[in-house]
Symmetry: C2
Subunit: 363 residues, 2 copies
């Protein structure tokens, strides 16, 4: 992996609008004096600036790399909000450090200070040139990095600027699944290994080869979302996972999930299962990366049918690369095994729902 | 899993021929007074007797189960030998407990006293009824159990009577590969887990998803076998594994393995790769067993070509089920991931050898 060091250099000041509550209580905007910094990342010069600066530098493309070194003067300021649909990971609430979003559909993930930040940045800076074209769509678009006022009030911090997968969806159902029966890896510190191993044994990671890290399922205007607390999610059993996967594609969640969207979201030519199988085929062969502690993010917009789509909108993305390392000529058997297990769970829901449909048509 | 208890009951005596050296120094026969016992295994009555008794009881079929309870008088005695071609596991030498073979092509594996013996016996007693027909051939034929004088001189001990995969092969090349990136499992004792985890981290188990447990490669009449010591095998790196997989299908091992048998042993319609892919397809779907610490045994008889075969004889078997547990509706993602990794290693040798052949034909 590339080693990355950080040095701040020129600083200039500007002002963001006063923090205020927006259209719901979860959404906040931040405003304070903003110090814009230019930093050096390894041998590559990176500018942390506002959106206009990024675009000026040609970083709007998902596959561009940061190569130039320029002084950029911001021309307008960005309104940051706390993501409305985040289901796992650190959250930018109660003064904690977490990701932010803005209206144009970008997601600002704070770069962690330690090796995790280094690793994730190196991944995003290199992945597009290392992956085949048909696989790149499984990763969020990367727009570069930017200095943003951190959500914990600690001042300016470099953030990864990524595609906000949930933007343009009013009520998305989201499932975050950490793939692999092992979240630790030989190169990690002994402390990390022991902590990760403990977590793997306490969740379904070891037994199922994956664990659900977070979930929100939109039911209806009246019922809103089903979003179990993190503690509950952490204690999911194999049967809980099966139930969640059924609820995820249902319109009515209680008393029994109806799985009415199973065939159009899990199934179908562009459905989740087909996409997972495409990903699996790549993992059987790829010896570029080992994705430890990486998540599969599934998004379903059931309401997109109301907007004229014949089938609900679905999205499959890989996220979280703070522990992604080079594969050194070996396939990522840990991710692959877990992915195959998850595929089996999904395909069972699909098969069962087909059987139910056939039975219902005969009754 | 079935719980198994062992109780000896009636005993009767007979005599085996005096121990003597046979046609080479590695082969020994055992002779001493033999106590034949009848024992009860769980609710199933099992006879430990000689070969004739097994056949009388209808246990010659690979898929028969021990269901009757009879007194059987032996009609002749079996000549046990130490296996000539064992590459891994406990060996019946220097007064240690290990497996024995006899000339008719049967392999006698001592049942371990603890849960391991119970688990392996339960597996062999049930696997044929739980597996699809096309998969059964990947397992050694099971002939039942038999009381045999243990090789460590501790007296009579129940042994699993299995197909001796190496019989009928004068100079087989054998590779024993323990599949999976984790040899421990949640149901095991904490002691076992810690010990297994340590072994997994010290070998290629974690990094490659498998480790070579033993290997012998026949080179020629003059050179004999290449059979690295266990300590050396244990310290194999990823590159060592690649080299072993090339040597395994070579006629000349030094200075560079020629891989002259790659296309006819790894490749081909009935070759090792095709068989592994068949096994993989089953593992993507099967939710019957989780095979922890189980080995894939590959056998190649290069000399079979001399006996009229157009391609060398190859065999792919799964062995060692002392830690095989019920799958509880989840695929064996640990075995599957490791198997996919091993398949990738094998296919790379095959691809490289094809490239070499094409290059050679142009020079």
């Amino acid at each position: 992996m590339e080693t990355v060091s950080r040095q701040s250099s020129a600083e200039f000041h500007s002002l963001l609008q006063e923090q205020e509550n927006c259209n719901n209580s979860e959404v906040q905007t931040r405003s304070r004096e903003l110090k814009m910094k230019r930093s050096l990342v390894g041998s590559t010069n990176v500018f942390y600036s506002n959106r206009h600066a990024c675009q000026t530098m040609g970083m709007a493309s998902s596959h561009s790399r940061i190569t130039s070194h320029q002084n950029v003067t911001p021309s307008f300021y960005i309104m940051f909000k706390i993501p409305k649909h985040q289901v796992a990971g650190h959250q930018a609430i109660d003064g904690n450090l977490g990701p932010l979003v803005e209206d144009s559909g970008r997601f600002y993930k704070p770069l962690q200070d330690d090796e995790r930040g280094t690793t994730e940045l190196a991944f995003y800076q290199s992945f597009s040139s290392k992956l085949p074209h048909h696989i790149r769509g499984f990763f969020p678009v990367f727009y570069g990095t930017q200095l943003v006022e951190a959500s914990d009030g600690s001042g300016l911090r470099p953030h990864l600027v990524l595609q906000d997968i949930t933007s343009n969806h009013l009520n998305p159902s989201i499932l975050d699944v950490k793939i692999g029966s092992r979240t630790w890896y030989p190169e990690a510190s002994e402390d990390y290994i022991q902590k990760a191993l403990e977590g793997d044994r306490l969740t379904t990671t070891v037994t199922l080869g994956f664990r659900i890290s977070g979930v929100q399922i939109y039911e209806s205007k009246e019922s809103g979302y089903w979003k179990p607390a993190r503690k509950e999610v952490k204690s999911f059993s194999a049967d809980d996972v099966r139930l969640v996967l059924r609820k995820f594609v249902s319109s009515n969640l209680e008393p029994e999930p109806d799985c009415c969207f199973a065939s159009t979201t899990y199934g179908g030519r562009s459905g989740i299962l087909e996409q997972l199988l495409e990903l699996k085929a790549w993992f059987e062969d790829q010896t570029v990366y080992h994705f430890h502690s990486c998540s599969l993010l599934l998004l379903i917009d059931k309401e997109s049918v109301l907007n004229g789509r014949t089938v609900p909108f679905v999205e499959v993305k890989l996220i979280d690369f703070a522990h992604t390392v080079e594969a050194e000529g070996v396939i990522d058997h840990n991710f692959l095994g877990g992915l195959c297990s998850f595929i089996k769970f999904v395909s069972e829901v699909l098969t069962d729902s087909k059987v139910s449909t056939i039975e219902a048509s005969f009754n």
